[in-house]
Amino acid sequence: MKISRREFLKTTTAAGVALVFSRVSVGMTGDGVNTGSQPPGWAGDPGEAKFRFDGLAKVTGQKIYARDFRALDMEGWPARETYVFIVRSNFVDVQFMGVDLTILPGDLKPLKVITAEDLKRDGFGAATREFPEGRYLVPKGDAPDYLGQPVAILLFGDRRAMMHARSLLMANPYVVKRGRGVKVPETFAYAPQSNIIKVVENRPYPMSDKVVFSQMQGGPANPEGTGERNAEAKKYRQWIAQKLDSEADWKVYKRRYSTQMTDPMFMEPESGLAWYEPQKKTLHMVLGTQSPETDAVNSAEIFSAKGCKYGLNKIDFTSCQLGGGFGGRDSSIFCLYLAIAAAYADGPVRILFDRFEQFQSGLKRHPSEIDLAIATSPDGTFQAIRNCVAFNAGGRKNISIYLAEVAAISATSVYGFPLVDINTRALRSPSVVAGSVRGFGVPQAVFGVECMVDEIADSLKIDPIVLRRKNILQPNSAISTGAKVAPPGLDEMCQLAMKHPIWKRRRAFTETRAAGQSKLHGVGFAVTMKNYGTGSDPVFAGVSISREGLLTVTTHAVEMGTGIDTTLATSTAKLLGNNANKLVLGEIDVFNQLKLKESRGQDVTDPYWTPIVFSSTKAAMTSSRTVFGVEQSSKILFDLAVLPAAKLIWGSNAKTLGANDVLWKDGSLTAEGFRDLSLPELAAKIYDTDAITSVINHAFYRGGWAEADYTVSGKTFRYPIDALGVKQASAKTHTIIERKNLKSYTTEALWAREGQTMSAAAFLVAVEVDTATGKVQVTDGVHYIAPGRVLQRALVEGQMDGGYAEGLGYALLEHLPVNDTGPSNGFWNLGQYQVPLAEDCAIGRIEKVILPAESANSPARGIAEAVSCPIAPAIVNAVSNAVGFRFRDLPITPQKVLAALSDAEVVQ
């Protein structure tokens, strides 16, 4: 199979290098047409899909993942490949003195050994956009920066040689030569740290609006910084600390918690192909990544340093389907080694990490140390919280400071505290590098709080859910920043859980517990919220109608395995009464007709300005952002073409009908007193009158959707988009509709107004603990989510299944040491690292409760990360309930359970 049909996504430049993005076709998305390979009958009623488009490709083993492709699959590439193995260090306390390859027999010797000295000599630079650290290989004589840091790149003539050599080299600790000992650099916090200080007067709860100090009033503050505002923040931090130590009317709980390093363990180890053509100064790359644009830009940057021997004019970047990601393929440095290896090879190179290498080098979930204090009134009213979360980011900064920032927002979990002092920070350490694994720091930030709430409840002899409800944030109440963005559903989930038979069993378990039982039972609960979106999200979306009434959705977004294609194909139904018949994903060219110009500052006077034109697809954006864009184009097509056409058909009696007077029913447009009109009939009228048949828009979210006035045919509409183009039936291209009165939010809007968007989730769970083995088994549970408007129920449920399994592994099974016995030693695989199997997951006994949307206008919230956040603390609370011992360190292994049972601290 030659990859000749690809979807071309985007052409842009970075560091003077042209970047051309394309994507391997899968199912319906194809080259922009329905390829016929999607299963027939996918479409259900309007707004519903019977099954996912990409299902067929995935159950027939089609070649869609990066690991499946070889050079001979790529059109125009030489077929012969060079194979790559990266040698890594497992020490940071001695000098690296080179690699010793004498253990390799002659036929396994590498063709080439690439070292730091080669990179320096040949002028490779450092990628500056997200990876400012450089040092992609350790120079001889230096100590490595972190465990698992690459020291050499070996090129082999064939796969067999690489694999045999890899086995020999990874098993031998003397391959990487050591020099004299050196002092390991001190740990420090990457700048900036995140701090949230909030002080509200007129306590107790419910809080008044009399906020004395918060982010909403003046933006973020740094108590350790200079200036008047920071000094004020420092004053309040000290004041809160003093009250936590001395307030006589409070009960203050101070505890330390910890969470472990885990591996995202996506099923397809990182793999890729690359080919550098020196004559054309072109680098071709094929890989599966969650951040194709970042990867391509970074690859361009390392070639663009002054004096680089390898000139580069163009990167031809092909993305493949992802065999899992969960954040572990977001801003992974893998791409840079692929690019470097390609430069030194004579022809295409292929990297195929095995699972040992993936454990050794892949991005990890940050381990964290949590120092938490919560103060309550004797009646259980929360008064103050201080939550300090230190994330071990490992040896590269990566995106850890942003992760800490997001964690800070959720570090009060879902409760109202009059006094808040949050500090989250990403620590530089010699550990394996951490990244944006599912939850983006929030699972760590809420873990201590949700466990401590149970401890406080037991201490005060209050039901843990009653205590939660006493302090829980109501919809649109102020979170720790002061922004009134608390999501709906938090209290409702608590109420539902309290009434559930599983929760009622908790009391019975406690009362019947006796010494000598072989099985102990416990019940736990946790409720959390997680923001969604990335903060600054641009969307391109278009909808068009054919003369036959067939709808086409066009967008820049791409399918990453999250079901975005299926979701988008059904997102026209709300406003146009029918599912899309055709999808064009990853399209950029048509949107170039909008002539947008990008700059970071505010330039509202330029009619073509927007803060960000385009960004790569992120899973969190599917429901909340991309669907929004498609719905705007659908609405505009309805306003400008479909409704006018209906009124023409219905005649003069329909002259005063508005959008609120009509209704889509079974695919037809209906209005009282008029005959039903099918979409094909409406389309024919639209074409006969040369009306608008295609709408393209650019929407931009940053603390709110940018909005503007657009005048078409003498009528002015205000739409929440910042660029609009329309095409009449007879026209070949779109005409830009001039925008007026643009309202566009600044970066500060994220803080200065209700810019964050939140989703709520909760988990109620029962566990059984074997007192002989210490093994914990989940027996049953209920998983709650408040997604707002559900776009595709099956996809929401799929995310709940995944979030639950992932959280269960986090609570009970998964653990990687951060020192040199951890994954950097090259011996970690699924033999040591346990992930949940079906037998662990109480299949069929985890009820899923999807709360109904609050209203017809509810947003479709991002939920993929939200669903995973309450799982681990709920399980920990259940095990603590069963064993009578407060577990504060993840994961709860059988050894920890047995130790606790032998020296139990009775808490009930």
């Binding site: 019977k50 995935k58 180890p269 969960f326 095995d354 299944d801 695989n829 699924l830 069929g844």
Partner: protein
């Protein structure tokens, strides 16, 4: 030279006998539907059916396969029709990222042939494949939808 039947067709490969079947399938025969996950027989992404038995191909030396029958995901579709298990997988929206699903489908195929109406316990014992997207519930629903049909 090693000879075996792959999806009902005879194939010959000239490789070292200790080469894992998985690598022969993917690299020599371009049957990339069978996936690499861990290389130590733990995850099940590489599951194929060898003489009727679900087998982890990453640990199976090709020398042992000589003269035997191997079925992979590519061989399930016959006369243009997906197998009932593949159809059930699509209908029940089992795949998310999909990478482990070839192995899941092959393990299920072997199970259903051996035990057309498996109990939950039999399913749990036979389908020990890892799915990091957590599709275990949908896998079970899909299997029951076949057996109830």
């Amino acid at each position: 030279m090693i000879t075996f039947n792959l999806n009902r067709k005879k194939v010959e490969v000239d490789v070292e006998p200790e080469t894992p079947l998985l690598w022969v399938l993917r690299e020599q025969l371009d049957c990339t539907g069978t996936k690499y996950g861990c290389g130590i027989g733990m995850c099940g992404a590489c599951t194929v059916i060898l003489d009727g038995e679900a087998t982890r191909s990453c640990l199976m030396p090709i020398g042992v396969v000589n003269g035997k029958n191997v079925e992979t995901i590519e061989g399930l579709e016959q006369d243009g029709r997906l197998s009932k298990i593949q159809q059930a997988w699509i209908k029940n929206q089992v795949p998310q990222c999909g990478y482990c699903q070839s192995g899941m489908v092959m393990a299920t195929t072997a199970l259903i042939r051996r035990s057309p109406n498996p109990t939950d316990a039999e399913i749990e014992a036979a389908i020990t494949n890892i799915c990091r997207c957590g599709t275990f519930q949908q896998v079970r629903l899909a299997i029951h939808s076949i057996t109830k049909a």
